[in-house]
Structures are given as C-alpha cells and as structure tokens.
C-alpha cells in the first residue's frame, strides 16, 4: 500500500462505504438477485480488486459504486455522498466531477483523435475545447504516449489504447476510479505495465481504485482483494501491494497477520467475513 493510502486508512478515510447493498434484476419468478447484501469499504488512496466467477455480481457492484446503476436496498456512500439522495442530474454531475472509468474494451470514440478522446471528461465539465485538448496532450505525455496525440485509436496497440483510456479516466482528477477488466484485452507484459501505471497514478493522486478483474497475474498490484461469489463478498484479503493486513475498524498500523480485513474479531487464519456484513 502506498504511503498516502496508508495515511488515509490510518485516518479511517473511506472513499466508498457499502452496507447490505442489494440489487435485483427483473421481478417475480424470473428475478435475479445480483447483490445479496454486500458490505465493502474502499479507502482513500487504496487499490481494491474485485474478483470472482462470472455472474457473481462484480459488475453490478462497481456499477452501483460508480453511480451508473441504482441499488434496491442497503446503503452506499461514495466520497461521503449517497447516490440515493441525489436527483438524476446531480448524480450525473457527481460522476462527471468525481468518478473516472476504465473499460475492458477501452470504449474510445473511434472517430476522435486520442487527444480529443482524453479531453472528453474536461469538455463534459465545461472546460473550453482548446484548453481541454492542451491538458489532454499533457496527460498523454504522462502516460507515455504524448507523441501519438494526433492518432485515432485504431492506429494504436491495445496497451496504448488502454493508456489513452487511463489518461481519459484521470484527466479531470477524479477521486474514484472504476476499472472493469482493464487488462483482459492485453497480453501479460502490457497488462503489467498498465497496472503499474494505475498503481503509480493512485499513489500520486490519493485516488481510490476499484478494479474488477479475472486476471490473477495482476493481483500483486492490489492493496486488497475482495472475492465475490453469489452476490456477496466472500473474503477480503491483503494483496501483494499491501505490506500488512488491515482492518478499517482498527486502523492500519499493526493488524494481526491473517486477520480478515473486514472482521477483526474473526479467528486468525479464518477467511470468513464479518457475519454482520453478510447477507
């Protein structure tokens, strides 16, 4: 864990706080309970990976955290704000200001140059076009592809496109970055570089990252890894990016080894989460 993340966790600074979050798709007999009471905290400056089998609710959970999907029950506050208390336009404005997105398929607009793609969040926030493109070029330089700013996405490799997507996600200095399978379309080496980039960005900007992934090779970059199954968090463990186990309830300095991060009262070696937080 980075120094800033450690400081934040020591100060119990929580960027995302989910309690008993429930989400059901459909109704009646065809209803599918995607989230069955999820408890999860994401600390400021932390890189949390959300893993689990397909259909376990990871995408639904990050959609709720990102504010692009309404939950049906429970509580979820992001940066101290509860989406449920916001009007749709306020929620949209909140996302524009505070949330960055990195998608599995990059989702770069193919007809725009990469500088124009990166400038989009600034344009959404009302920054004049010329100024936005200038800042986009600077951001592209920071992610190492400043010389390609005139190119369209199709002329870039997958890794370069994901760098563009990361630049786009960061340019408006969000507090929360939501990444959906950011390395699944990339080869191992490129994926590692993308994660190094994300890891570095998070440490420099006190940014909280929630990364959904199946790619075990990138677990080493996580501060914590939350394993989901069947609509709830099964286990939260320290990632290799984390030098110590942690408990958001007790601070960060000296948690006992193998203690469950969300359940300081669980026996050592237990992987069970806090029963209070289960559905």
């Amino acid at each position: 864990m980075t120094a800033s993340a450690r400081r934040a966790v020591q100060g119990l600074s929580v960027a995302v706080r989910c309690r008993q979050v429930v989400k059901t798709y459909g109704s009646g007999q065809s209803a599918v309970r995607a989230l069955r009471g999820v408890d999860l905290d994401v600390h400021t400056g932390e890189l949390l990976m959300l893993v689990g089998p397909s259909g376990c609710g990871k995408t639904t959970l990050i959609s709720v955290i990102a504010g692009v999907l309404d939950r049906d029950g429970g509580e979820c506050s992001v940066l101290g704000q509860d989406y449920a208390a916001m009007r749709p336009d306020q929620k949209t404005a909140f996302r524009a200001r505070h949330v960055g997105f990195v998608f599995q398929a990059f989702n770069l607009i193919p007809t725009l140059t990469i500088a124009e793609n990166v400038s989009v969040p600034l344009l959404i926030n009302g920054v004049p076009r010329k100024q936005a493109v200038e800042q986009a070029r600077e951001m592209l330089s920071q992610v190492g592809i400043g010389d390609r700013w005139r190119d369209v996405p199709a002329r870039l490799s997958g890794g370069q496109q994901q760098r563009v997507a990361i630049a786009r996600a960061l340019i408006h200095k969000p507090k929360l970055l939501v990444c959906d399978e950011p390395t699944s379309a990339l080869d191992h080496v490129t994926g590692q570089r993308v994660m190094e980039l994300l890891r570095g960005v998070a440490s420099r900007h006190d940014l909280s990252l929630v990364v959904v992934t199946h790619d075990q090779r990138i677990f080493e970059f996580a501060d914590r890894v939350a394993e989901m199954d069947d609509g709830h968090i099964e286990r939260i463990s320290a990632g290799k990016g984390h030098t110590h186990a942690e408990s958001p309830h007790r601070g960060f300095d000296a948690p006992p080894k193998n203690e469950h991060p969300l359940n300081p009262h669980a026996p050592q070696g237990s992987n069970e989460p806090n029963p209070e937080h289960r559905s």
Binding site: A66, V68, L69, A93, N107, I109, T111, P121, L123, I124
Partner: protein
C-alpha cells in the same frame, strides 16, 4: 461536447454520406417536382400574366378559368365602360382556330383578338415587328415558340424553317400575313399563339351570336380595384375579377379538376417518404453504431440534455447540408432546362416547403435516435 458530436458525425464518412444523401434525395425530389408543378400551374395563367396592364377581367359568370370561354354579348362592353371607376375597357377574343400553313398542313392555334383602337392585350414583348403593325391588312403576330416549332415549315433538307415576317397562312379560309414575332410566357396549352385585332379575329372565327370572350378593364387611378370589380359585378351582372383573383381561379380549376396535383403530389410524397426512410434508417444506424460511445459519455457524466443537443446538432448538420445539396441540384436542373418546354419555377414558398420537410425528416430521425440514447442505461458500458 457539440464539437465531439460533429466529429463523431463528420469523420464517419460512410454514414455521414449516406445520411446526407437521404436528405439530399428528399429535398431534391420535393424541390424539383414541386418546381415543375408550380411551373405548370404558372403556365395555366400565362395569358393573364402577359396582360400585365389589365386590372380587372370581366367575363360571363359561369367562366371557371382562362381557357373556359363563354362569350358575352357585344353590348356588355359598353355597359362595363359605363361603370364608375372604369378608366378604360377593351374587348378580347380568345378561341382556338385551325390554321392552314403554306405547306398545306393544318395546325390548331390560340387566336387572341385585341382591341382594334388601343391594341390593349397585345403580346408582352416583340422580337420582330411592332404591335401597331396589326393595323395592316390581314396582319397577325405569331409567338416565337409557335413560329419555330409547330408553325415552322420543312426546308429542302427536311430541317424546320421558322415562320417569319411576311409569311402567310390561312385562318378559316381567310388570309393572314405575319407582321411580327412576339415572345410570350409559354402557355399550358401547347398550341401556338396568334395575335390579331378583335374585329379580324371575329372574322376568322366561325360566326356566332356572341363573340366577346373577355373585357379587359383598367381602373381609374386611385380607385380600389376590388371596389371597381364589385361595382361591375353589381351593375352589369357579369363576373369581374382582379388579375390575381383570376389567376387563383385558374389554378384552382386545374388543381380541382385535373390529375396534375395528384401525380405531382405522389412524386413529392414518394420523395419525402423515401428520403425519410433512408435518412431515418441511416441516422438510427449511425446512433446504434455509436450507442456504446453514447453510453460511455453518459457514464462519464454527460447529461441527457447534452446528449440530446449532440444528436440534434448532428441531425441539423445533415439537414442543412442535405437541403443545400438537394435544392442546389434541383436549381441546377431547372437552370439547365431553361429554354426547353419543361415547366420549372422555383419559388421561395417551395424552398420553405422543402425546408420544412427536411426539418421534419431530421426531427423524426433524431427522435428515434434520441429515444434510444435517453433510455440507454449507463451501466451498459460495463456489459462488454
């Protein structure tokens, strides 16, 4: 974000071209077919237009349009002249006679007999000769289109030789000598126009008890023309219309009693429908192809209002470009057909109609796309 919308549209050249072509096709067909329709309708009142000095047309009350000749008694002329507010009233004969050419061929022609004394009602422009030449014996003036086409004789090599000043013809066994060539507005009926004096026209025409077709009236200066019309109608029992009213009557007759508006209406409607379908489909397809990116923009915090403005801007751009190309093509077509028998008259009203149609097409297309974007859940961006 408008600049993003424009780049999304303009840089997707295939789709952009397809959408613009749809709008272009619609506006071109609507403008071109509409202009031909308006051109044909304008020709129906060509004679009224050519007699621009006439304020009021007086006729038998049952007359429905300019070619509907129901003669008046000769005494009607003096009765009209006696109506207060009438400065001048002139007789006009209008009929169709079979003309025998020097070659021995026959040709039906429109005969216009104008006032012997004042020559009121003569052709609007003389290419050769003078209107006053009609006072010479057996004199007739022939319009240039008739002179060069139907009244032209065959030369030794088979090529048409236009009828010229000095040539003669036979009208109902009476001699006519061409003393002038005029330029007229091309009439709806394709027969040549032959001008002569009223008295000579009535000699050419088969003898009837009534031979006065219309009375052309000039109102006194300062008189309200409509008031004079009403007064003539009241005091003589005849129908009296202003020039514009008579034009409208004539156009209404053709619209209500011929298949012309239906034929052109079908062509215009087809242009509108086909243009709408092509544009709507292409625009919807463009939006559908970009739905992932609209979803991405939505997830990143673009408001619905901004997305609507983006789509409206895209629709407006293709509308303006397509309308410009379509009406430009139609105008070019009209200009290139100038001087041919094709009737083509492009008016600002027609441009307004075509523009409105394009707006409707673009609105329909945009609405379909907007609905798709507005109902799009931003969470779709995480669904791969």
């Amino acid at each position: 974000m408008i600049s993003v919308a424009l780049k999304m549209l303009l840089r997707d050249k295939g789709k952009y071209f397809g959408i613009v072509m749809g709008v272009t096709l619609a506006s071109m067909v609507i403008t071109q077919q509409g202009s031909i329709f308006v051109g044909i309708m304008t020709r129906t009142f060509a004679l009224i237009s050519d007699m621009g000095d006439t304020d009021i047309w007086v006729m038998e009350p049952k007359v429905q349009f300019i070619d509907d000749t129901k003669p008046l008694q000769d005494t009607a002329l003096n009765r009209v002249r006696g109506v207060p507010g009438v400065a001048h009233a002139a007789p006009l004969y209008k009929g169709i006679l079979r003309v025998r050419l020097e070659s021995g061929e026959f040709q039906n022609c429109n005969i216009i007999g104008i006032d012997d004394a004042t020559l009121t009602g003569g052709p609007p422009e003389m290419i050769e000769g003078r209107i006053e030449d009609l006072r010479r014996a057996d004199a007739v003036i022939v319009d240039i289109i008739g002179a060069t086409t139907r009244l032209a004789r065959r030369g030794p090599d088979g090529a048409p030789v236009p009828l010229a000043v000095g040539d003669t013809m036979e009208l109902n066994d009476r001699r006519g000598v061409v003393v002038g060539i005029s330029r007229n507005t091309r009439p709806f009926q394709s027969q040549p126009m032959i001008y002569t004096t009223f008295s000579r026209a009535t000699q050419y025409a088969p003898r009837e008890r009534k031979q006065l077709t219309f009375i052309l009236v000039k109102a006194d200066a300062g008189q309200n023309v409509q008031d004079v019309c009403d007064r003539i109608a009241r005091e003589t029992g005849l129908a009296a219309y202003t020039r514009d009213q008579f034009k409208s009557m004539t156009v209404s007759y053709f619209i209500n009693n011929t298949g012309i508006p239906i034929n052109f209406g079908i062509a215009v409607s087809l242009g509108f429908i086909i243009g709408s379908v092509i544009t709507g489909f292409m625009f919807y397809s463009f939006t559908a192809d970009n739905l992932r990116y609209f979803g991405t923009l939505k997830a990143m915090g673009t408001s619905d209002g901004t997305l609507l403005r983006m789509i409206m801007t895209q629709a407006m751009v293709v509308g303006v470009v397509g309308f410009g190309l379509g009406t430009g093509a139609a105008s070019w077509f009209g200009a290139s057909m100038s001087g041919t028998p094709l009737a083509f008259r492009l008016t600002w009203e027609l441009l307004f109609v075509a523009g409105t149609a394009v707006v409707v097409i673009c609105l329909i297309s945009a609405m379909l796309s907007m609905r798709r974007v507005i109902t799009l859940e931003p969470a779709v961006v995480f669904k791969g």
